[in-house]
Amino acid sequence: MTVITQTAPETTPVAVMPGRVSPLASLRHTMTLAWRSLVQIKHNPLELLDLSVQPIMFLLLFTYVFGGAIAGSTTEYLQFSLPGLVVQNMLFATLTTAIGLSTDITKGVFDRLRSLPIARSAPLAGRIVADTLKQVWAFALFLGLGIVLGFRVHQGVFGVVGALALLLGFALAMSWLSVLIGLLAADPEKVQIMAFSVMMPLTFTSNAFVPTDTLPEWLQRWVEVNPVTHLADAVRGLLTGGPVATHATISLLWAVGIAVVFAPLSLRALRRRT
């Protein structure tokens, strides 16, 4: 503590100091902050397990506990439920953004980042880039484990890529909601509670896990509009065959709607903080 190396502040040539951030620098800042969110995995591979526990658990539980009762056989149910589980997991995972943001805000890291001469968008964008990569990981895990358990892809690589693209597109739209929650929640625990109380009913009142016609009629009407239903159906179509276009279109319309509503609200909440 007592050793003070002489590092006088260099006289920065103030005149040539840029007044704003170039697009290239913005990208660099975003990537640095994405690295920051992912580097923990390098040190602590258990983090990766953290990301994977829920997918693995749900996949095993649904297949072996509900499979027989719902579809008569576990493999047959897997074929139906895996796309639903993928969608559910994607929705839950969008809240990683909210939890991370809320943690940064409560710890003061968010303010530190905002006091640096970096692109204003970088703290959010960096987080979203990292969380998108985590989504890709979860999707690959689901598919890999599913195939081991007996899931069969019938639509080839294009189907898989299409399903992933659709899921990521929807996840990106949902990030705006996630950012809003992260900015408004008092602390990360509140985000978890909110996540559970919104995402559970949303994902279960869909055809992600059971066919719509087994539900009471009043519920069917909601299930038919629920974006989770259309996403699940679109992913089913893309992976195992079946109609895709309508469901994908409705899913994307929902995604656009969600982004249109929540992007301005998030940006307003962000500006409010200043």
Partner: protein, 325 residues
């Protein structure tokens, strides 16, 4: 004289409350300004405005000559900020925290690493550099936090209650670091609830209360503003305390505060002291202690605000920024 920080008429409202109610302050280049005040006096709000994190509702401010609102980006490249709680990413190691800041400041990777190693050595964290920050003690986290605010070699440093919650040893160590920075010519604005801290470090002090600057000057000037010196008399015989109080009341014209076996009173005219001594002598009262001293900052604060500077509670709530702090 050039000012590194200049603020004029800063106002910030949160609904009905005025967190800042027209604050003016200046910090000459290379000096340390101590912003002293109790919790909720508006210190943090002022720092957040000057560090471009918050917009004032009225008034304007410049840091290193740049307007904090219009030229926020340039201001950000010249400042360092250490907030009330250690703003480090706990999942990253000490090295990674600092390298991340370096990279964000557009340093090449090698330079960012070298700067991180240099700062860790300086703050006695070299051995812990490879460990996740969540394993650090409170004092270590603060040091890492301060190191993070120094990565970009700031010209102006904002330290918002940097020692709140630290044990006395870590506090003294941090003071040493701040002195070192001042020796290098860095301008510092330091907020604190600790009067001793302002007394130790600050060239100038401003006292905040309820969003206003209620006094400013050097530590000595502030102590002189109450106009008073403090007379304390402790009789050898505790039973004589009543007599001592009577004599003082008679001579000074004000009843002293009697507590802990001694009588304490503010006196404006030191010439009164000999007559008190004479009167006590006549009465056969022997004083084991008799002192006349300048008011402490504590007493100044009491005189200025009408209340004591509260000691911060052990565990401060992590206020979200909506709450005026």
């Amino acid at each position: 004289m050039t000012y590194a920080i200049e603020a004029e008429g800063l106002v910030k409202r949160y609904g009905e409350t005025r967190a800042l109610d027209g604050v003016d302050l200046v910090v000459p280049e290379g000096k340390l300004l101590g912003v002293l005040g109790p919790n909720g006096a508006g210190k943090t709000t002022a720092v957040r405005i000057l560090a471009t994190l918050l917009r004032a509702d009225a008034g304007h401010a410049t840091v290193a000559g740049f307007d904090v609102r219009r030229d926020a980006h340039r201001v950000r490249s010249l400042i360092g900020l250490t907030g009330q709680y250690a703003a480090v990413d706990e999942t990253l190691t000490g090295v990674e925290n600092l390298v991340m800041i370096g990279r964000l400041l557009d340093m090449p990777r090698a330079e960012a690493k070298a700067r991180a190693a240099e700062l860790l050595a300086r703050f006695d964290l070299s051995d812990a550099g490879g460990r996740a920050a969540k394993t650090y003690s409170g004092g270590m986290r603060r040091r890492l936090d301060l190191a993070a605010s120094l990565v970009g070699r700031p010209h102006v440093l904002f330290l918002d209650e940097p020692t709140t919650g630290l044990d006395p040893r870590s506090r003294t160590e941090l003071w040493g670091v701040v002195r070192g920075l001042m020796a290098e010519g860095v301008t510092v604005l330091l907020t604190t609830q600790y009067l001793q801290e302002a007394d130790e470090l600050a060239d100038d002090i401003v006292v905040f209360d309820h969003g206003r600057v209620i006094a400013s000057g050097t530590s000595d000037e502030l102590k002189a503003t109450t106009g008073a010196q403090v007379l304390q008399v402790r009789p050898t015989e505790p039973g004589h305390l009543g007599m001592v109080a009577d004599v003082i009341a008679d001579v000074v014209g004000e009843r002293p505060v009697v507590a802990g076996g001694e009588a304490t009173v503010n006196v404006n005219n030191p010439a009164l002291v000999p007559s008190i001594v004479r009167r006590l002598d006549d009465l056969g009262v022997v004083a084991s202690e008799l002192s006349l001293r300048k008011s402490s900052l504590d007493e100044v604060f009491l005189a200025l605000t009408g209340h004591r500077a509260e000691e911060p509670s052990a565990e401060e709530p992590n206020v979200k920024q909506e709450v005026p702090a």
